[in-house]
């Protein structure tokens, strides 16, 4: 239904209501469409008056809908009135009304009421992160930075993930302000980004840059740049942190992989204890490897080719630099079939170590184990994103470690577009022309600092579609 443009008399509303197919829900439907079409508030008021006069009361859900319209249009005095009425009528409110009231009042000069409402919400449930966002922004807007930070820390203790808007607001509102305490808090936010591997978007990055440059007497200068594969910042010549994990992190990750990914709730789900033990002794006897290859995954790179040929190409290509290779596969690869020729398999086994798991076992878990067991220099080859294995890890901190380690150690082959016309050349050259190798990153893509420099990766687009893609663009900030 299209709401009317002008306030109506009671009779006119009655007529509309009778013309509607289900008169019982007429008021609700009308209010919904008023919110959708952003009708003038007077129209809504006239409907409320009509409801009040005919029923002697206005139902709670209609009040909430009216409130939504007021908040949408920023009608502060109306919001106040509705709030008073609701408070009078009901002992407590529910979350929908609280959300609207907090949002509506925090944008007005009566923002302190929003804070008391937040306290009220806390009595019954955990406020949402947008509740906190409204209050923090309101406090920031009125230069009450200590209060804003108090709220921020409170929401962190409640395990709420702050919205990027909250974090950005801190930088916006602190621009040009002095104070060591404040500076420490904002650096804290940057470190929060680092720890959780969050990348700011472009406008957020600009807020960070402007804040740094506005620190009185700070002499900070920011530049936008791209980091080369070598990991050197072209602006300040600083070498970025490498992607290696620390000794402690590394062993922690290894333990958790064995515990959560390989064993999980039941070792039999992915492998069997006998098989895992056999694999462990196999790996121990041949350590360390340089590259661990997921044989089945690599064998599917080019669908037109025989599977064992694909694998053969990859093994030959990687074996060039005298690297010690381990290929993981399943037992069915050993039976001579149209895709797996025994001769080629034999030849490959001279160049690399092979381990064949049971056909119903998961070879990916073995891949992770063998790579981690070989040490930090060891890389692995697969196109798999390993998301399901990451999901097996129980705590988010280890998941971050896993992602970091994965970025630094995974090599991805993908067929290139020009590779379709194969000329009979030396096989290695052919392989190069056919495949693009995405290298493992040598530097770590997180917010990082040395004290007098900050390097902050940022996303060009607001919503990055792929979580596995990491930004190429950086903000370099240095102190003169």
């Amino acid at each position: 239904v299209q709401p009317p443009e002008k306030p109506l008399q009671a009779e006119e509303w009655n007529r509309l209501k009778e013309g509607f197919r289900s008169p019982e829900i007429f008021h609700e439907v009308m209010f919904n469409s008023m919110v959708r079409y952003n009708s003038p508030i007077d129209v809504a008021k006239s409907l409320l008056t009509h409801v009040a006069q005919s029923n002697g009361d206005i139902a709670y859900n209609l009040l909430v809908k009216y409130l939504a319209l007021c908040v949408q249009q920023g009608q502060t005095s109306e919001i106040r009135d509705v709030y008073d009425i609701m408070k009078m009528r009901f002992r407590i409110l529910e979350s929908g009304a609280y959300n609207l009231l907090i949002k509506g009042l925090s944008n007005s000069d009566q923002w302190r009421i929003a804070l008391t409402l937040l306290e009220e919400v806390k009595k019954n449930m955990i406020p949402s992160r947008t509740n906190y966002e409204s209050c923090i922004k309101a406090a920031g807007r009125h230069q009450e930075m200590t209060l804003a930070f108090e709220l921020y820390h409170e929401m962190l203790t409640k395990d709420l993930v702050p919205t990027l808007d909250i974090l950005q607001a801190f930088f916006d509102f602190s621009r040009g302000m002095k104070g060591a305490e404040l500076q420490k808090e904002l650096f804290g936010i940057l470190l929060y980004l680092r720890e959780n591997q969050i990348y700011p978007h472009k406008t957020f990055m600009r807020s960070i840059k402007l804040w740094f440059e506005s620190i009185p007497g700070g002499n900070w200068r920011g530049h936008l740049t791209n980091i080369k594969d070598s990991g050197k910042c072209p602006v300040c010549n600083h070498q970025l942190e490498d992607s290696d994990l620390t000794e402690e992190e590394y062993s922690d990750l290894r333990e958790k992989i064995i515990r959560d990914v390989i064993h999980g709730t039941d070792t039999f789900r992915k492998t069997s204890p006998q098989e895992f033990e056999a694999f462990q002794t196999f790996v121990e006897n041949r350590l360390p490897f340089d590259i661990v290859i997921d044989g089945l995954n690599v064998s599917h790179i080019k669908p037109r080719k025989m599977q064992c040929e694909n694998l053969f190409d990859a093994v030959n290509f990687l074996a060039k630099g005298n690297a010690r290779l381990l290929v993981l596969g399943r037992k069915h690869m050993l039976t001579n079939s149209s895709n797996w020729k025994r001769g080629i398999m034999k030849e490959m086994q001279n160049k690399a170590d092979f381990f064949f798991a049971e056909n119903i076992s998961e070879d990916d878990a073995f891949l992770l184990y063998a790579t981690l067991q070989s040490g930090k220099h060891c890389k692995f080859v697969t196109r798999d994103f390993l998301r399901d294995h990451k999901a097996c890890l129980t705590d988010s901190l280890t998941r971050h470690l896993f992602r970091k380690w994965q970025r630094g150690h995974q090599i991805v082959f993908s067929p290139s577009a020009e590779g379709k016309h194969i000329t009979f050349l030396v096989i290695e050259k052919m392989f190069l022309s056919v495949f693009i190798q995405q290298p493992a990153f040598r530097y770590d893509c997180v917010v990082q600092t040395t004290g007098d420099t900050w390097h902050i990766p940022y996303k060009d687009i607001f919503e990055e579609k792929y979580s596995y893609k990491i930004p190429k663009k950086w903000l370099c900030i240095q102190q003169k």
Partner: protein, 415 residues
Amino acid sequence: MQSANVLLKKIIRSSVLPFAAQHGMKKDLFPPLSRTLSLSLCLKQDNSCSPSEKLDLDAWKKVMKSGLQEVSETVSECKELSTLAAARELLEMWRLAGRSVPENISEEQLKTFMECPSKSAKKKYLKYLHLKELYKKNDKRKMDEKRESRLAAQEQGLETGKTKNTSFVCLWANSMDRAYNWRVAQSMVFGQPLVFDMSYEKDMSVREVANTVRQIVLSEGSNRRSADPFHIHFCNFKEDSLYHKEFIKYYRDAWGRLLITATDQCYTQLFPKDKLIYLTADSPKVMKTFNHDKIYIIGSMVDKSIKTGVSLAQAKRLGLETAALPLEKYLLWNSGAKNLTLDQMMHILLTLKDTGDWKKALEFVPKRKYCGFVSKPMHELKKSLNLINTLKLGKRQEEVKKQFAKNYSKKLRQK
């Protein structure tokens, strides 16, 4: 008049009444009609006194604010509520706001609600209760309607006043039951065993266990009514487990008289290992025929959170043979998981046992999960599919082929 009544109801509902009575406010509340009446009168006057037909847009505020002053006073004076009461009140507000929340909620449910770990879990639980309530109400309404129509029919029958003359004895439900029980008792001595593996309680949530038990109850029922029932075994069944409690909820006294074997022993202790076949959708082996000498095991597990390979792991650990139903061989699978409910499994196995006809048995797979039966051998089907596609799509044939290959494993196509 009507408005006043509504107002009165409202006041009574918001539980001020005892308080008001205590403070001698009864006078004001009864009869409150006079005040509200005068109020609506004055509203009308407001309207009438503006000749230009100007609306008083804030009139609703007056209505809302007046007459409820007492309520606000009592609210502020009320004692701190207990957490349970507070939760109850919160639910009431959610209901007013139009969320899916049950009208009535028991103390126990309220406690479960408060123990939900997250907001979304709470929401889900409430929605579940809400739907349950709706179904119950609908059922009750239908029962009432049925009763009424039955009574009406009886009255009519009395008018005609005739008794039927047949040469058959009317077979009542309990004599049917006796016949069924006789058959099941026979199967307990001579019948083929069928094992329900009750060792998955730790892998399930409370609701999943409840669903599992419901499915087993259904399968037990269809087994009892079949011509040649299985001898059902509940293996790894622990006394006082969640399973047990749920079973008692369903069967009550009948639990003790049920013609099944419930034991805490494992099936490997009861039967020779080489006779056991664990049925699991994750099995790499596909069942070809139903074997009357084997003992099939069904895992009693409802898996809503997709924990793959749990029952396969169990079979692997015990070194048992496994098998999956040949769903892809006989059905053009459409969507949905390949794991079926326990009662569907029971229907399928019973049909196989009686007839050995896969097509008949797989009728019990839910229709939404497949497009149709595979009538011709796979390679012929593929050929005709290709022909259709080349005619229809021309160049895009390759893509379709790939899609086909994705849906149907290689093994199957080679056959």
